[in-house]
Symmetry: C3
Subunit: 306 residues, 3 copies
């Protein structure tokens, strides 16, 4: 059996904590340090949806571990000649690729890829539609840990487009394992989630959602996932839910701000807040590389031999 990372559910609480600890060790080494942990390995990047940011973060993580990177242009349909996802990954596995970092709008395609891989090959889900984005949560946990926060004592608010966000879905899975002192979700109208888990409460005003919070995570308004007929929602969202310094100062004066990026500046968050002293946003980006190093190294850690 091969280890995959398709969802935060693939990780128990101990493994989550180990990955955060490993990420802290990798973060201390700095960006120009090179390991040979994965030397000789080739990591294939299969991004069926565009993501410069996430692909670069994985590519840098792979190189810092000593691995080679194979970039495939999966968005260009001409590259595929009608080949299935399963045939694509099985073919690359036959060529000697042992780790696949894959983003796809459908979780089912990622599951099909995992099933098609032979023993000794590993798949990491780098974002699946609205369902999962496990390494985003690893980097958020690493960021909170490096800021001195203990998630079990944390007063956390997640606000924004909760319905279309794989980030919130993966966060809720992490909190199932790890617990969280207080978790509020906040979203209006079309952005409200279909269900709310017992660990969280759902608020329908910004004030109720963030009052007294220690950390506020703003989510991206996924404009590319909104169906037609919902234009105008962004303006309304900005008016009533957009984060700015005045609102934070009034309702959550101690709060730090997180955002998984890329931001819609002026929609879910104001620039002065995003670039100001409360913001952990660039620290999240920075922690993405060591968090992904921890995930990539962990996937290989169970192999008897490489």
């Amino acid at each position: 059996m091969s280890q995959h990372l398709l969802s935060i559910r693939d990780l128990d609480a101990d493994t989550l904590k180990r990955l955060v600890a490993d990420g802290q060790a990798f973060a201390k080494q700095g960006p120009t340090h090179r390991q040979d942990l994965l030397q000789g390995q080739t990591i294939a990047m299969l991004f069926y949806e565009p993501s410069t940011r996430t692909r670069c973060s994985f590519e840098l993580a792979a190189r810092r571990l000593g691995a080679d990177v194979l970039n495939l242009d999966m968005q260009s349909s001409s590259s595929r000649k009608g080949e299935t996802v399963a045939d694509t990954v099985a073919t690359l596995a036959a060529m000697g690729v042992r780790l696949f970092v894959m983003r796809h709008e459908e979780r089912a395609a990622i599951d099909a890829a995992a099933r098609a891989l032979p023993d000794g090959c590993h798949l990491l889900n780098a974002g699946a539609g609205t369902r999962d984005h496990p390494t985003q949560i690893l980097l958020d946990l690493l960021t909170l840990a490096r800021e001195g926060h203990d998630i079990q004592r944390l007063d956390l608010s997640i606000i924004g487009d909760l319905r279309h966000s794989r980030v919130v879905n993966s966060w809720l899975q992490a909190i199932e394992h790890l617990g969280c002192h207080r978790l509020r979700l906040g979203a209006p109208g079309v952005f409200r989630p279909e269900t709310v888990p017992p660990e969280a409460t759902l608020s329908d005003t910004l004030a109720d959602s963030i009052q007294g919070a220690q950390v506020i995570m703003a989510l991206r308004i996924q404009q590319e996932r909104l169906t037609k007929g919902t234009t105008g929602e962004n303006e309304l969202f900005h008016e009533h839910w957009g984060l700015n310094e005045a609102r934070i100062a009034e309702w959550a004066p101690q709060a730090q701000i997180m955002h998984p990026g890329p931001m819609n500046r002026g929609v879910e968050i104001d620039s002065a807040l995003a670039d100001g002293p409360r913001s952990l946003i660039l620290k999240q980006v920075e922690n993405g590389v060591p968090a992904r190093m921890a995930a990539l190294a962990w996937l290989f850690s169970g192999d008897k031999q490489r």
Copy 2:
């Protein structure tokens, strides 16, 4: 004079056998082993036609030999600013690139590139329209050798789209050099080749084409090369010529199955057969990397100094 690999005809029988032997040695080393044979060299990938599969195979081969890889996006016409193929390769050669792996729909473009290169630079044809694909034959020969087959004693059938296939064209050139105990070609209607060489016979039913064969090579129906007005050919082909376990069990019960990929599952080959125990298809993919390592290393082997 620089050595190029534009066609199987560039290789005599001894060189073909040497490349297969070199491929066997590279295959034994496994995918995470790294050589420094081509250290400091940069290999440019010039794919004017898309091919994720072949490009990745060459990229992995180059890296296992210690070379750097330079990927050029030659399909995007905006990248070219009207520059000729000859100017493109002469420019890269001036920058220090010594080996070019090139795919183009016209063999004439590949010949023009070879003529434009200065001494000490090498060109490898990674697929030219319907004419040549020499490294595909090297990997097929390596696969047959690793399965214990001796090509001179082999009963081989090649069936499918013989008219538009550079694979069959290159295979016939190899057999001119190496001989083959029995070679049958089989294809219906629009897929029949324009000429049949003396080494082969052409059959017009599947049964006649494969009866008693040891190895059956199914070719891809090149849908992208078919002219309009031939839709319906695929359905007819599948009905009368599609390979499946029942047909193989009846007519060639000892046969192993090969396919250069990517497959049209359900057209020229059924999935159960492609993924079953007779299939050498993933072994062909696996052998592509060491076969290409052998070809790349051989191109440099005549240089006095690097």
Copy 3:
């Protein structure tokens, strides 16, 4: 403060001379020699305008210095999700990228990127619209030096599309610093520059522009920058200003020919001249790699620690 290279104006005469000397040393090492000067560094290639040639030259330079290269596809708007240039570079800097090689049609975008970078990060302008292309001038200076020319004693003519050329603009800045014995500019009609600096004279016939010149630099007719309604200009340009052996032999029999590439053969220059013994064009390409190595290494040279 971080060192950037946005324009030739960022370099004083001593630094220009040092970079040419460094380029000569790197050129002597040859293309398969590898340094570890920038080992562990990652250089991001941000080409908002396509340029296979310049990107490859920088990629080869980076690898010869021991750096890793991160290629971003900035032309595909889907990759950007509306993110600003400033957010893109700040994000990559947070991931640990310390050097950015950027091409953009607007110089303002390059300035915005430089402002968004934190301390310790460097930006190199690899071509900004019609304004700047500093490393092209470095490679031209290196080429002249390797041919034994002293710029202060040189009789140089630059002819062609002077209005839309960032090359001539950057060259004029270099000559402000370095001086030049005689500098003539030549261009007809729509290609004439808006202003002529005191160091140069502007001629309106080819004969006047090149008579007795030691080096003639032909510029590319920037077809992609011409506005509609100027077709026909190319034919007229070729008739009266196109360089060929007969014209050079008559008016400047000692002259060597340069061109920044890619050439429009048969428009601004004839093939026999471009490929003949007077041509320094492939030497310019060759010198592009060591000249860019010198620039990349220099950007890091002021850092206290890496």
